[in-house]
C-alpha cells in the first residue's frame, strides 16, 4: 500500500482543541500548516450526520483580521471585490481579497460590527500573508490587526443545529437570518454567533475566547448527542463543500484565477469605486473569458482526484481542481477549469485516471442543494 503523501513544510500548529481531538480518536493530518483532525468516526458517517442531523467542526485554524477606524470601510472596499458598503450592521458577506492582477489572494467573509469596525475571516494557510497584503494597501485611516490568536472558531452545521443550540443560549437563534450574526452568550460564554457555514446546510459558526474552547466544544457535543450530532473533521468538511459547489482556496481559486473565471461574478461588483485588480476584471468582463470553472460527474467507473488531467477528444484541455466521491449523491464528482467552448452542461470530457481515461459529463453546480 502507498498513500499519496501530503507535504509538511514546517512544524504544524495546534488549535486550542488539539488534545481534545486526539482524545476523541481524531485522525490528525497536516492542513495549511496546522495539525487538524481529518476524521473521527469516518468521513462517510460524519458527512451523513451533517446532511441529516448535525456535525461539530473545530475550524479555529481560520483567521480573523480586524479593520477599525474612520476609513475602515474604504480599506475593506479597496482590497475586496464585493461591495461591503451594502452591508447592514451584524451582516456577513462572502467576498474575495484581490491582488492587483484581479486574482484571488484569498476568499473570505466580511463581518460588519459597526460603521468603523469590520472583520475579515480568512483561510488558515493565508492568514499572515493576507494581513501583510492588507497592511501594504492601507493608505487609509484604518488600523489592521490580526486577531486570529484571540478566537476559537467552531462550526455547528446541519438541519438539527437550531434545535441543539437553542437550549444553550438566551439568544433567539431562528430569527438570525442566513449570513447575519449576533453577539450573545452560549453555554455562558460570550460568542459571535453567525449563521454561516461551508457545508451547504443550515448552521452556525461561533467565535469566542480560546480559554473556553473545551467547555463549549464538550457542551455542544453533550447537547447534540441525543439528536445524533457527531464531531466532524476536515475530510467531511471537504466532501460537504464540494457537493455544495463551494470553492476551496488553493484548488478552485488562487493567485492565477479571477472571480469571473471561478463563477464568482456574483461577488464581484464592478459598479463600486476602485479596488485592487478592478481594471483587469473589467477588461476580462468586456473581452470575455477564455476558461471557466465547471462541475462534472463521472459517467464511467473511476474517481477523479485533485490535479488529474481533463481531456477532450484526446487533447489535454484542463486540470481537476477538486474531486472525489459525493456521499450524498452516491456519485463521483469534481470541478475543473475548461476552455469556454467545453463549459456548457452536457459536454462530454475524459479524466485521465492513472494509465486509463474515464468518461465524465459537465453538469451545473451546485451538485447538491438543500431543500428550503
Amino acid at each position: 500500500m502507498s498513500e499519496i503523501p501530503s507535504a509538511v513544510v514546517r512544524p504544524a500548529r495546534h488549535t486550542a482543541l488539539h488534545d481534545v481531538h486526539r482524545r476523541l480518536g481524531g485522525k490528525m493530518v497536516p492542513f495549511g500548516g496546522w495539525d487538524m483532525p481529518v476524521e473521527y468516526s469516518g468521513i462517510l458517517a460524519e458527512h451523513r450526520a451533517v446532511r441529516e442531523r448535525a456535525g461539530l467542526f473545530d475550524v479555529s485554524h481560520m483567521g480573523e483580521i480586524s479593520i477599525q477606524g474612520r476609513e475602515a470601510l474604504d480599506l475593506v472596499q479597496f482590497v475586496t471585490c464585493n461591495d461591503a458598503s451594502r452591508l447592514h450592521l451584524d451582516q456577513c458577506q462572502y467576498s474575495g481579497l484581490m491582488t492587483p492582477q484581479g486574482t484571488f489572494m484569498d476568499d473570505l467573509v466580511v463581518n460588519k460590527f459597526t460603521d468603523r469596525h469590520y472583520w475579515l475571516i480568512v483561510n488558515a494557510a493565508n492568514r499572515e500573508r493576507d494581513f501583510e497584503h492588507i497592511c501594504q494597501h492601507d493608505h487609509f485611516d484604518a488600523q489592521v490587526v490580526n486577531v486570529s490568536e484571540g478566537y476559537t472558531q467552531l462550526a455547528v452545521q446541519g438541519p438539527a443545529t437550531v434545535k441543539i443550540l437553542q437550549p444553550l443560549t438566551p439568544v433567539a437563534l431562528s430569527p438570525i437570518r442566513y449570513y447575519h450574526f449576533t453577539i450573545g452568550k452560549l453555554l455562558g460564554v460570550e460568542c459571535i454567533i453567525s449563521r454561516t457555514g461551508y457545508t451547504g446546510e443550515d448552521g452556525f459558526e461561533l467565535y469566542f475566547d480560546p480559554e473556553h474552547s473545551e467547555h463549549v466544544w464538550n457542551g455542544i457535543l453533550d447537547a447534540g448527542q441525543a439528536a445524533g450530532l457527531l464531531p466532524c473533521g476536515l475530510g467531511a468538511r471537504n466532501t460537504l463543500r464540494m457537493e455544495a459547489g463551494m470553492a476551496l482556496y488553493g484548488h478552485e481559486i488562487d493567485t492565477t484565477t479571477t472571480p469571473l473565471e471561478a463563477g464568482l461574478g456574483w461577488i464581484t461588483k464592478l459598479g463600486k469605486p476602485d479596488f485592487l485588480g478592478k481594471a483587469v476584471i473589467e477588461r476580462q468582463a468586456e473581452q470575455g473569458l477564455t476558461r471557466k470553472l465547471i462541475g462534472f460527474e463521472m459517467e464511467e467507473a473511476g474517481i477523479a482526484r485533485d490535479g488529474y488531467a481533463v481531456l477532450h477528444q484526446g487533447q489535454r484541455v484542463g486540470q481537476v481542481t477538486s474531486a472525489g466521491p459525493a456521499p450524498t449523491l452516491g456519485r463521483n464528482i469534481g470541478m475543473a477549469y475548461l476552455p469556454v467552448a467545453l463549459c456548457p452542461p452536457g459536454t462530454l470530457i475524459d479524466i485521465q485516471i492513472r494509465t486509463r481515461t474515464a468518461r465524465a459529463r459537465v453538469v451545473p453546480m451546485p451538485f447538491y442543494k438543500r431543500r428550503a
Binding site: 500500500m1 498513500e3 475530510g235
Partner: protein, 132 residues
C-alpha cells in the same frame, strides 16, 4: 483486530494466505484504518502477471488513493467480484476479504515476508518513530 497467525505480511501492509502454490492477497487492518472509508477498488484482470513489489491494484477511500503491491511473483488466478460491489468490506473485514488469488511462482519466497508477530512489532516500531 487480530492478525491471523497463518498469514504473512509486507511492510506495505498487504497480507498473504498461502495454500500450496495458491495465495490469497489482501490489505491489512492497519492499511484500512489509515485509508478510512474505502469506496472503490480497481483490480487486475485474471491472468495478469504479478511482479514482486510492483503495484497490481488500487484501493481508494473517500480521501486517498493507494496502490497495492504484489508480495510475491505469480499470476492472477481469481479476482474478488464482491470487493468491487462492496469495497466497504475491506474496512469491516480486512483479513477475510481477499482482493485476488494468485498462482505463485516460488511459494518458498513467502518465508521472506513477516509473520504476524513480526508485522505487529513492525507496526509498533513505526508508530513510535512517527509519534510527536
Amino acid at each position: 483486530m487480530d492478525y491471523p497467525k497463518q498469514y504473512r505480511y509486507t511492510k506495505e501492509h498487504e497480507w498473504v494466505d498461502l495454500d500450496g502454490s495458491t495465495a490469497k492477497i489482501g490489505i491489512t487492518d492497519f492499511a484500512q484504518q489509515q485509508l478510512g472509508d474505502i469506496v472503490f477498488a480497481e483490480l487486475p484482470a485474471v491472468g495478469t502477471v504479478l511482479r514482486s513489489g510492483q503495484a497490481f491494484a488500487t484501493v481508494e477511500s473517500v480521501k486517498a488513493v493507494s496502490e497495492v503491491f504484489a508480495p510475491l511473483e505469480g499470476t492472477v488466478a481469481e479476482v474478488n467480484a464482491e470487493v468491487a460491489q462492496h469495497p466497504e468490506r475491506l474496512n469491516s473485514h480486512p483479513h477475510d476479504t481477499w482482493l485476488i488469488t494468485a498462482t505463485v511462482s516460488h511459494p518458498s519466497a513467502v518465508n521472506q515476508l513477516m509473520d504476524a508477530a513480526a508485522y505487529q512489532q513492525f507496526l509498533a516500531a513505526s508508530s513510535d518513530s512517527s509519534a510527536h
